[in-house]
Amino acid sequence: MTSGTDQQWPRWQRKGISTVIDVLELTKRYEHRTAVDQLSFTAKPGHVTGFLGPNGAGKSTTMRVIIGLDAPTSGTVTVAGRRYAEHTAPLQVVGALLEARSVHPGRTAFAHLMALARTHGIPRSRVDEVIELAGLGSVAHKRAGSFSLGMGQRLGIAAALLGDPEIVMLDEPVNGLDPEGVLWVRNLLSGLAAEGRTVMLSSHLMSETALIADHLVIIGRGRLLADTSVGAFIEQAGGRGVKVASTERDRLRALLSGPDVTVTSDAAEELVVTGLDSRRIGTIAAEHGVPLHELTPQTVSLEEAFMELTRDAVEYHSAYADAATRRAA
């Protein structure tokens, strides 16, 4: 087990990066199911890495392996250059919020955080600090079992920040949070990344992640589907075509054609044009007296692009969503 880690160390030392999450050819098989399949990616300092995939794609499993709760079937996972369990103060290296509840409902928020803090010799003052930071001041001495979903998330985030970690990894952090809480998480995470920390968050919602993350790792059925930047993903997804409807379709098609322009047609009176913007198309049509009935810039939403990418990898289909996707396609 350690030999693999020893081989990993020099690689990051050469690159001069010390606080990354490095997943290398990770495979995790349960009895009859492969949850993660040859997955490799890196989350780097100063960036917010969005870890995306449909439900059951293997996001939570990957995160559990990163913090050593599950052992990989094969492959290596290192944080800041070593296996998680090899760190002398793991909470100071990685602060993690897991999707599943990880709190005893009978303990107060304060007692829960103190129990974790004591293992590392983290002072009580830091516990009070993260309670305030997470906005739990008024409920710190209430039992966690009485917390709402959103309060539970805040407690989980407080626990993740307890050790002032270099790497912050959150599984579905905005689940159950109210709009104010969502905004808080967004600002918190971008603030942490701006301080040079490595931030990774998982989500099954593309639109929400694009607001927080700058780097995207998209998986489906345990496999890597895309490792890209948010900007590149949007550009690739957009298509940026313009839908034009006209009774004189073929004449317009001839007028619009050019070296960087592609024109396609699905319907009798419709064209989809890429390479020209709607303003230019309108001008050309007016100059030549072609009547236009519709001139609409096409924007494929991020969510649609994400669904398109992961469609074959969705574990749990619903009949309704399937029909909707087919219509959209």
Binding site: G16, I17, S18, P45, R64, I67, G68, L69, D70, A71, Y84, A85, H87, T88, A89, P90, L91, Q92, A96, L98, A100, R101, S102, V103, H104, P105, G106, R107, T108, A111, H112, M114, A115, L116, R118, T119, H120, G121, I122, A159, G163, D164, E195, G196, R197
Partner: protein, 284 residues
Amino acid sequence: MTTTMSTRAATAGLREPARPAYRVTGLRVLRSEWGKFWSLRSSWITLGITLLLLVAIGAIASVTYSPGAAASSGPSGPGSGSPSDAVSLALLGSTFASLAIGVLGVLVSAGEYTTGMIRSTLAAVPARLPVLSSKCAVFAAIATPVATAGAIAAFSLGSIGLHGQQIALSLGAAGVLRSLVGAGLYLGLAGLAGVALGALIRSSAGAIAVLVGVLLIVPGLTQLLPDSWADNVSPYLPSNAGQAVMSLHQSASSLSPWAGLAVFAGWVALALAGAAYRLVRTDA
């Protein structure tokens, strides 16, 4: 390398000038588990119930004792099986107390799994084994003195009730203190058996069922065995072996007090070894 140095210096500057050097140590894990035990209401309640069962049942049995009833129930001279000495009367509640304290042990370990707390615990202490050993140390340090005190309290209260009776004994009489301290040790170990089963089975209900089965039901099942087998097997069963240490007089078939305790401790150690193996080897 130069870039590393400068980035790290810059980010450190944004926060504190020097990051505190935290470190997980065995003593800190112990302190954490100590705090975890006392910060749950269920710990206080279950410990209280254990004490109540032990003291109340023993005291009531002693106070309501009448030599006539004991004599009429059969030809039981001193030293025979029925509860006719002051110690066995005082410890009449030990069976119920052993279940209560075993449940407390199960809650300490299996409770982490049923609530999901184990994920937080093992994320903080990924070496894992210190968690189990600290739980055991904390549990033994709390349960054994409490149960010993309970046994002595039951006997002392019972002595008031038995005042003037033929079977009355003082705390200083031969074997009395050994039996009472033995009861404390037996209950402490029964609780540890609960901790071990809880960590092994990872479900409160399952672990409690196994605990009840092993402590109460299995000894009765030996009646199904041929007599010659039963006599050889029965004394070595966990609860039979453990109870030898808290009886004033040993029957012909039972082990000597300390040998019995050692056999019971061996059973508990076996369960703990299984728990440790599962904790280290399997996914949390």
